[in-house]
Amino acid sequence: MSHVVQPLDQPSNYKDSQARVDRQKQHELLSKSTTLYIGNLSFFTTEEQIYELFSKCASPEEGGGIKRIIMGLDRNTRTPCGFCFVEYYTHAEALACLRYISGTKLDERIIRCDLDLGYREGRQFGRGKSGGQVRDEHRTDYDAGRGGWGAQAQRLEIERRREVEERYADAQEGPGAVAGGGEDWKQPEGMPEKADLKRGRSPDDEDESERMGARARLDEDAERM
């Protein structure tokens, strides 16, 4: 708690204008949210670039990590339109991004992070009239990273664009279009516990350990000791 300065990880006044839950409910969801809305991305920024930066706020040792990234796409052209969602496994990781990443650069643009209510189907698409983000409808400046005014982007950017434009051509709509990213660990169904299947190994198994790939499974040894 701070009385002297405003912490950076407070939810901002951004909200999903199409969310169908009341303010209090929204607040409650945000206070547990593991999803971030990322804005002001270049249209050319890839998910791997995003992954690299946002993995710096991941806490796998606490059971966290990046669950998935959902790239915001132009509804019509199926090309990135400058925003995405990053979903973590824990709320703390999302908050860390607000403190350490929001307001810093990715791909040479200052990006902005906001807690999000959580990805819902259909939200991966831009809501502007032309298919992209609403903000790009009204933008009057020249922004090479977000499509410029027209086609006169820099040479380098054209190269990148070629790849990017095809990348999401296969983007689907509807249920199941977006992968989940993997849930928490579960006991494998219908399988005996793995530990029983793998032969325990004792220190005198020297010959076997010489072969590359042989490895210690010392569950049994552990139990014996």
Binding site: H3, V4, V5, Q6, P7, L8, D9, S12, N13, Y14, T46, E47, E48, Q49, Y51, L53, K56, C57, P60, E61, G63, G64, G65, A96, L98, R99, Y100, I101, G103, T104, L106, E108, Q133, V134, R167, Y168, V178, A179, G181, G182, D184, W185, K186, Q187, M191, E193, K194, L197, P203, E206, E210, M212, G213, R215, A216, R217, L218, D219, D221, E223
Partner: protein, 876 residues
């Protein structure tokens, strides 16, 4: 959506208030608190009397609110503590209620209430708050408001902690810092007014420091693997620095204190009334984790940080930044460290406050800002603020095994500083990078070299990738595995991850752009599908599989097709391992359809999870028995496919673990065997930072799963307890009428509630996962044994690189020498980073792995054992 260029925060006390949506009503009390918090922002000395007036005018005054305000101000703005002490001193001249001058003064009431708050911090072992309150009392001692004897007794109760049996290092360190910092600020008064023996405190700390012993060598930023008694020159340990500083002060009877900290209260006339006697305290024992779970073998590990000595790396000379082993140097660093820690919640404010830090120090401590009126340099001071701040931040970032906050916090903080004052902070950053780069040749710890790369790449990404690479061109003559070469290669790889290949290539001078010099890869990091070329074996078979996957064929159809491919391969190609070929084709084809992006990859594997599961179990269309070789084949297929992108290898492995296709132990195993880089002239496996990243990600996955499982069990137990308590309450309601104890009333029988099925499942999962955690750690230890200390296949290089002569001959080291030295570094890092877990599993892990270790007397074996023994807390 509104975008305002960088986080929608708004500064207090600034003139941005016009755009507040709603006018905020402030009560007189809230106004008072705001004034207290703001004290000193313009001119502390002038504001003090006004603030005292404002406090006296607030009637009726709520003492506890007032003292809470001071407590907040003290613990959140430690740089202003001298002013809060001065305020409290002035309030001692004010009667609590206008006329009655005999009543207890306002100041004394505030102090008495403040003490209660301090006691609460101490009870919670909220160390930073406790220590900052000690600062406050120490200043009040110098202001003669607090009795020096009681101050000394307070400091002594902190050093008493050092004598506790089995005290943890974190606790001892915090307690010692309370004592030292309190003494720095109040020592003069204590020595002048009491017969107390101040050396009792320094002796106590000294003997504690001497008891740490072997732990120290494992966390020094520059590594010496041979036994040596030479003091480390590149860094200083915080307790040792604190002790040195206070010893210097003590030898001069604390004459320099006013040189170190502001003492605005000294202008007040001497306080004539009886001073406040701080009550005596006892530092409460550490809380024992109540919901600790034990595994079936009675072991449970919970990570506790701060258990290692803190070595802060030094980057500048003593005339540029103050020497932290001197009183003033120590005090400055301690002040900066507190700022960095407290304002972690808002790095932008933190950066601003750091650059304003000189305001809270005696005049002349730092050089004036450019443009400020020139000042006569104070002899022995006149340091560079920005270099001092950057050195301290990097010192914290480079603590081993892990910094207190996430690496990215310190990186982002430096970015903010550079944005605030590019012309002064920029050069300090540049010099720091060069200094650290230089240390790479002199044994900078591998974990720190990795952290340096992380910082470098992210920093450059925020500042247009502008670095003068040119100056490092001569280092291209060094061995390919020399830490400087590794740095260049990996830093560029990390820059490319954050940006893209062509962009980064443009920032490099010609010799570095040339792929022959092995600084940049010859092409952008992309997929490498083995079956793309019709000339390659199994091209046709792979294409048919790829076709099915592209057409989104059902998993079963793909499986039956793979079966038929396998059968035909077996008839035509009897000498190849058809199982391995099938796995490679299937996995690479799957990665191929998912190669466009991380999401495409997730979609591809989610669609074909049943196929992957079968492959991992050793068969195609049925679930077979667990098969290690199959899982190694899958991981190898991934690393073949992404051989140009180390980044993707780590990402894909992570998700394969997440989807439980492979175990963390498999990944560790792979990294030590199939994943080992081929190094010219090397006879043994070795670890590079990529392999370490893979291993770390696997171990963290295993540990993280245990954390989740433990949380789940705790939650379910709590739920069960609450249910049970509710049941008792509702049973008890009927008996509420007779509250007296009636011996003849039968007690509620203590039938243990049967475990809920959910709890049973959760406990079983916990047991399974701790077993897997242990297996992963064990496999890692085994891997290191094979690299460095195997009995049956000893590594001669492992011996030479740790000898003193060997190290001094490093200018002539081969690639194999360097990677072996690096492997030693990762082994040390593994041990210290995971030491809480390793400690718990020490007996079982040690017994199994050390059975394979060579005989004592071999320097490699002895070093290997010693590192293990130190990190697991066993007698050496």
């Amino acid at each position: 959506m509104s975008y305002n260029g960088g986080g929608g925060y708004r500064r207090r006390n600034r003139d941005h208030d016009y755009d507040r949506r709603e006018p905020v009503y402030e009560s007189p009390e809230q106004k008072l608190r705001a004034s207290i918090i703001r004290l000193g922002e313009v001119d502390g000395d002038q504001e003090l009397p006004r603030l005292v007036e404002q406090i006296c005018e607030t009637t009726p005054i709520n003492i506890s609110y007032l003292s809470e305000s001071v407590r907040i101000a003290v613990t959140e703005q430690p740089y202003k503590i001298p002013y809060y002490a001065a305020l409290t001193r002035l309030l001692h001249d004010k009667p609590s209620s206008g006329e009655d001058t005999t009543a207890t003064s306002l100041g004394r009431q505030v102090l008495e209430d403040f003490w209660k708050g301090f006691q609460a911090y101490l009870d919670k072992l909220s160390w930073r708050d406790t220590r900052l309150c000690v600062h406050f009392f120490a200043h009040l001692t110098t202001a003669k408001v607090v009795s020096p004897q009681s101050m000394f007794d307070l400091l002594k109760s902190f050093t008493a902690v050092l004598d506790e049996f089995g005290v943890s290092h974190g606790r001892a360190k915090q307690a010692a810092l309370c004592a030292v910092e309190g003494l720095i600020m109040s020592g003069a008064e204590i020595k002048a007014k009491t017969s107390a023996n101040v050396s009792e405190i320094t002796t106590s700390i000294q003997s504690y420091i001497e008891s740490i012993g072997d732990n120290k060598a494992l966390v020094q930023p520059t590594v010496k693997l041979y036994p040596t008694n030479d003091p480390i020159e590149t860094a200083d340990e915080i307790l040792e620095a604190a002790l040195a500083a206070v010893q210097i002060l003590n030898s001069s009877d604390f004459a320099q204190t006013s040189d170190i900290v502001l003492q605005p209260y000294t202008v007040s006339p001497d306080f004539a009334d009886a001073p406040f006697d701080l009550p005596s305290v006892l530092v409460p024992p550490e809380v024992i984790e109540l919901d600790a779970l034990s595994t079936d073998t009675g072991e449970d590990a919970q990570v506790k940080k701060e258990e290692w000595p803190d070595y802060y790396v030094r980057l500048f000379d003593n005339d540029v930044t103050p020497d932290p082993t001197t009183p003033v140097g120590y005090a400055i660093r301690a002040g900066i460290l507190d700022l960095i820690d407290i304002f972690e919640i808002n790095r932008k404010e933190c950066a601003r406050l750091l650059l304003e830090f000189p305001k809270w120090l005696p005049h002349g401590t730092f050089k004036p800002r450019p443009g400020a009126p020139p000042q006569e340099p104070v002899a022995g001071k006149d340091w560079q603020l920005e270099s001092t701040v950057i050195e301290t931040i990097l010192g914290t970032l480079f603590l081993l095994p892990d910094p207190q906050h996430k690496t990215i916090y310190y990186i982002a903080l430096i970015t903010e500083l550079c944005k605030l004052s590019p012309s002064t902070v920029g050069p300090a950053v540049g010099k720091s990078i060069r200094k650290l780069y230089g240390l790479l040749a002199d044994g900078l710890d591998v974990a720190l070299a990795s952290r340096l790369i992380d910082w470098f790449a992210i920093h450059m990404s925020n500042f247009g990738f502008q670095w003068v690479w040119k100056e490092w061109i001569p280092d291209l003559d060094l061995s390919l595995q020399h830490p400087k070469r590794v740095f260049m290669r990996n830093a560029i790889d990390f820059e490319i991850r954050l940006s893209y290949y062509d962009r980064i290539l443009k920032t490099l001078p010609e010799p570095m752009q040339n792929p022959d010099n092995r600084v940049v890869p010859s092409e952008a990091p992309g997929p490498d599908y083995e079956y793309d070329d019709p000339a390659r074996p199994h091209y046709d078979a792979a294409q048919t599989v790829l076709g099915l996957l592209r057409g989104r064929a059902k998993a079963e159809d793909v499986m039956s097709h793979l079966e038929s491919v396998k059968n035909s391969l077996e008839t035509t190609d009897s000498d190849t391992n058809t199982d391995s070929v099938i796995r490679s084709i299937a996995v690479q084809s799957l990665l191929h359809i998912g190669s466009r992006s991380f999401s495409h990859f997730l979609n591809a594997i989610e669609r074909y999870l049943p196929l992957l599961r079968n492959l991992a179990s050793g068969s195609i269309s049925t679930t077979g028995v667990s098969n290690l070789e199959a899982r190694m084949d899958i991981l190898t297929a991934v690393s073949d496919f992404w051989s140009h992108s180390k980044h993707m290898i780590v990402i894909v492995f992570d998700k394969l673990m997440q989807y439980q296709i492979v175990d963390p132990t498999d990944v560790v195993s792979w990294a030590f065997t199939h994943g080992v880089e081929r190094i010219a002239g090397s006879t043994h496996p070795s670890l590079s930072s990529l392999q370490w990243d893979v291993i770390k990600s696997a171990l963290n996955k295993a540990n993280g799963r245990v954390v989740i499982a433990r949380r789940k069990v705790s939650a379910l137990r709590k739920e069960a307890d609450e249910k049970a308590a509710m049941a008792i309450v509702s049973n008890g309601t009927s008996m509420e009428v007779d509250t007296e104890v009636k011996p003849d009333v039968p007690e509620v029988p203590e039938v243990p509630e049967p475990e809920s099925p959910a709890l049973t499942t959760a406990l079983k999962a916990f047991a399974t996962l701790t077993r897997e955690q242990k297996a992963a750690l064990s496999r890692t230890l085994d891997g290191f044994v094979d690299c460095l200390a195997s009995a049956t296949n000893p590594n001669p290089t492992a011996k030479t690189v740790i000898s003193e002569n060997g190290w001094h001959n490093r200018a002539n080291w081969s690639e194999a020498d360097w990677v072996t030295w690096g492997t030693w570094g990762w082994y040390r890092h593994f041990c210290r980073l995971y030491s809480p877990y390793l400690r718990n599993y020490a007996t079982t892990l040690g017994t199994v792995s050390f059975a394979k270790v060579g005989n004592a007397g071999d320097p490699a074996v002895d070093t290997f054992r010693k590192i293990w023994n130190v990190t697991t807390g066993q007698d050496v």
